[in-house]
Amino acid sequence: MSNAVVDREVDSKKESRANEIKRLERREGWKRRLPILPALLFTIVVTQIPFLFTLFYSLTDWRIDKLEPRQFIGIDNYTSLTEESEKFFREAAWVSVQMTVMAVLFSLIVGTMLAILLDRKFFGQGFIRTLLITPFLVMPVVAGLMWKTQMLNFNFGIINWILNGLGQESVEFATRYPMGSVIVVLVWQWSPFMMLIVLAGLQGQDPSVLEAARVDGASTFGIFRQITFPQLRPFLELGTLLGAIYLIQVYDHIEVIVGGQPGANNLPFYIAQRSIGGGNRFGLASTYSIIVVIASIIIANIGLRVLSNLLEDDS
C-alpha cells in the first residue's frame, strides 16, 4: 500500500470521529434546551404578544366611544406627550416618581430597623417575626380599605381618635394629604418585604467578624457603620430595585383610599382612567403603558445586574 492511501484512510477515520462528536454535542444541546421550551413558549404567549399589540395600539388613534375605525397615526401619540393637552400625563408621571421614591425609601428604613431588632435571639422570636410579616400578605385592596376605614377615617378612624384624645382636631387625611396617606399605607405593606431582605443580609454575617471588631475596640454603632453596613449594601440595593419595580405599578391603594381625587394619581391609575375608566382613549393609554414598560425594563435590568453580583459574591 502506498502512503497516500494510508493517509486518506486515516483522514476519513478522523473525519467520521469528528462528525460523531458533533452529533453528540448537538444532542447534548437539545437535552438542555428541551425542558425550558414550554416555559419559554408560555412566556412569549402571555407577555410578548400582548406587548406587541399594545405597541401597535400606541401607534394608532383608537377610541371606542366613536364610530370611526382605528387609524394608524405613527408616533403622533408619543410626540403629543410633550404638549399642553397632556400635562396630566406628566403630572401623573411625577406623582409616580415621588410616590415610588418615598415609599421605597421609608419602607427600606423601617424594614432595616425591624430587621436589626429581629436579628437577635429572644423568646417568641418566630412568633414576632410572623406577626411583622403579615402586612405584606394582606391583599392591596384590603390594606387600602383597612387604612381608609379604620385608621384614617375622619369620624371613627383610630388615628383621629388618638388625636382627639390628645386634644387635637380631627383631620380628613385622604383629602388633605392624599399622597401622604397612600405612602403611609405602602410603607406599612412593604416594610416587611424589606425587613426580610435585610434580615437575610444580617444573618449571613459571620458572628466572629463582629466579635473581632468588638475586640478591636469598635463601638456598637461603629460596628454597624464600618462592618455591617458595607456587607448589607447589596441587599439594600436589591430591596430598592425589587421594591421600585412593584411600587411603580401600585393601583389598588390609590383607587380605594383617594379614588381619583387630584394629588395622588400615578401613571397606572391615570392609564386606567384614560382607557377603561371612562376616557376611552385606548391608543393614547397604550402609549403611556409603553413608556412605563420601558422605564420598568431599565430599572429591572439594573436590578438583575445587582442580583447576579450578589450571587457571585457568595460563591
Binding site: 466572629s208 466579635e211 473581632a212 478591636d216 475596640g217 469598635a218 463601638s219 462592618i227
Partner: protein, 366 residues
C-alpha cells in the same frame, strides 16, 4: 506585657438546676508575663470558652479574671487591651488587608500617618507587603492566617489570644507556621494564651500547657513534666503519640500484674497502694518503656507500624483473664512481623492510677 489570672472562673450555660452546663468550671490559672500558655483538650472541653471569657466575649458567671492585677471580669472586650485571632480568621470582608490590620488603631483614633507606618511594619514582619491593597477573599488560606496575625500584632496588645489559629491550614504549612508563631511570640515577648486540640502542637509550642477536660483543669505544667508525670488518667491518655499503654488490672494483695509479670513499684507508690481501699488500678507505661526480655510477659504481634527510625508493634497480651492490646516501640531495624511472639516487660517509669477516680498514686516524678 501582662500577667493573667483566672480565679475560680466559671461559665455556666442555661438556667441553674437541671440542664445547666458548666462549660468551664472554677478555673484557677496563673499565666506569667511573657509566657506562651497553651490550653489543650478534646473538642468540647471548654478551651474556647475559657479563652473567650478572658477576651470578654463570654460572661463570667462565677469567679473573676485579672489582667495585671486589674479585675477585668465585668469589662467589655474593647477595654481589655487584648488581641484575638479566631479559628476562621474573622477578617473584615469589605476591607483591604491594610484596612483590616489598621482597624483597631483607627478605632483608637491613632493618626493616619502613624497608623500606616505601624501597618507597614507589621506587613513587613509577616511578608504581607505585596497584598496590602487586596481584599481577604483574594488571598490564600496561609495569607489570610497571616493577616489575622498582623491584625493582632499591629496593636501591641497586653495579651494575645489565639483560638486554634492553625487548624484551617494544611499539615505542612501548619507545622511551619507553628514554629514561626512561637518565634514571633518570643521576639515580641507578649503574653499569649493559645488554644488547640492538637497535643503535638501544645507540646511543641507551649512554655506551659494546661490540659482541660469537661470544663475542668486537669493539670498545668511544662510539656516535659506533663509527659513524664501525668497527674491523672486523663492526662496520661491524652498526652503523647502513640498514647501511653493503659492496662486495667485487679490488685493481688499489694501487687499489681502486667500480663504474667509483676509491676515494679517504687516505695511511695507501694505506700499509696497499701493505704488505698480500691481494688482496680490502671498500669500506665509509654511504648518506649517496654522492653523485650526472655522472662517478660508473652504476647503476639498483630500490627507493625514502620516509621523508619523506629517501629511500633501492636501486640495482644493475655492479661487478667482477657487479652489486652499493648504498643511497644522497637528499633526500626528489628524484623518483627505480624504473628511473631515476643516477651515484654516494663523497663522504665511506670504510672499507676486508681481506676475509679483516675488519680495518680505516689509522688510526681521530678
Amino acid at each position: 506585657m501582662a500577667e493573667v489570672r483566672y480565679e475560680k472562673a466559671s461559665r455556666i450555660y442555661g438556667f441553674g438546676g437541671v440542664g445547666a452546663v458548666r462549660a468551664v468550671n472554677e478555673l484557677d490559672l496563673n499565666i506569667a508575663d511573657g509566657e506562651l500558655l497553651v490550653l489543650v483538650g478534646p473538642s468540647g472541653s471548654g478551651k474556647s470558652t475559657a479563652l473567650r471569657m478572658l477576651a470578654g466575649l463570654e460572661t463570667v458567671n462565677e469567679g473573676s479574671i485579672f489582667i495585671d492585677d486589674v479585675d477585668v471580669t465585668l469589662k467589655p472586650p474593647q477595654d481589655r487591651d487584648i488581641a484575638m485571632v479566631f479559628q476562621n480568621y474573622a477578617l473584615y470582608p469589605s476591607m483591604t488587608v491594610g484596612e483590616n490590620m489598621g482597624f483597631a488603631l483607627k478605632q483608637a483614633k491613632v493618626p493616619k500617618a502613624e497608623r500606616r507606618a505601624q501597618v507597614e511594619e507589621a506587613a513587613r514582619i509577616l511578608d504581607l507587603e505585596p497584598y496590602l491593597d487586596r481584599k481577604p477573599k483574594n488571598l490564600s488560606g496561609g495569607q489570610r492566617q497571616r493577616v489575622a496575625m498582623g491584625r493582632a500584632i499591629v496593636r501591641s496588645p497586653q495579651v494575645f489570644l489565639m483560638d486554634e489559629p492553625l487548624s484551617n491550614l494544611d499539615a505542612k504549612l501548619r507545622v511551619q507556621t507553628r514554629t514561626e508563631l512561637a518565634d514571633l511570640q518570643a521576639r515580641l515577648g507578649t503574653t499569649m494564651v493559645y488554644v488547640t486540640h492538637d497535643q503535638v502542637e501544645a507540646m511543641t509550642m507551649g512554655h506551659r500547657v494546661a490540659v482541660l477536660d469537661h470544663g475542668e483543669l486537669q493539670q498545668v505544667d511544662t510539656p516535659r513534666r506533663l509527659y513524664s508525670s501525668p497527674a491523672n488518667l486523663f492526662v496520661a491518655g491524652f498526652i503523647g503519640s502513640p498514647a501511653m499503654n493503659l492496662i486495667e488490672t485487679d490488685r493481688t494483695g499489694d501487687e499489681l500484674h502486667f500480663g504474667s509479670t509483676v509491676v515494679p513499684l517504687s516505695d511511695d507508690v507501694q505506700a499509696d497502694l497499701k493505704a488505698s481501699a480500691s481494688t482496680r488500678f490502671v498500669v500506665g507505661v509509654r511504648p518506649e518503656h517496654l522492653i523485650q526480655t526472655p522472662d517478660g510477659a508473652p504476647c503476639g504481634a498483630t500490627v507493625v507500624e514502620e516509621l523508619g527510625s523506629d517501629a511500633f508493634v501492636h501486640a495482644s497480651m493475655p492479661h487478667n483473664g482477657t487479652e489486652a492490646t499493648v504498643v511497644v516501640r522497637v528499633d526500626g531495624e528489628t524484623a518483627i512481623t505480624r504473628g511473631d511472639n515476643l516477651t515484654i516487660a516494663i523497663g522504665g517509669p511506670v504510672h499507676i492510677f486508681d481506676a475509679e477516680s483516675g488519680v495518680r498514686l505516689g509522688k510526681p516524678v521530678t
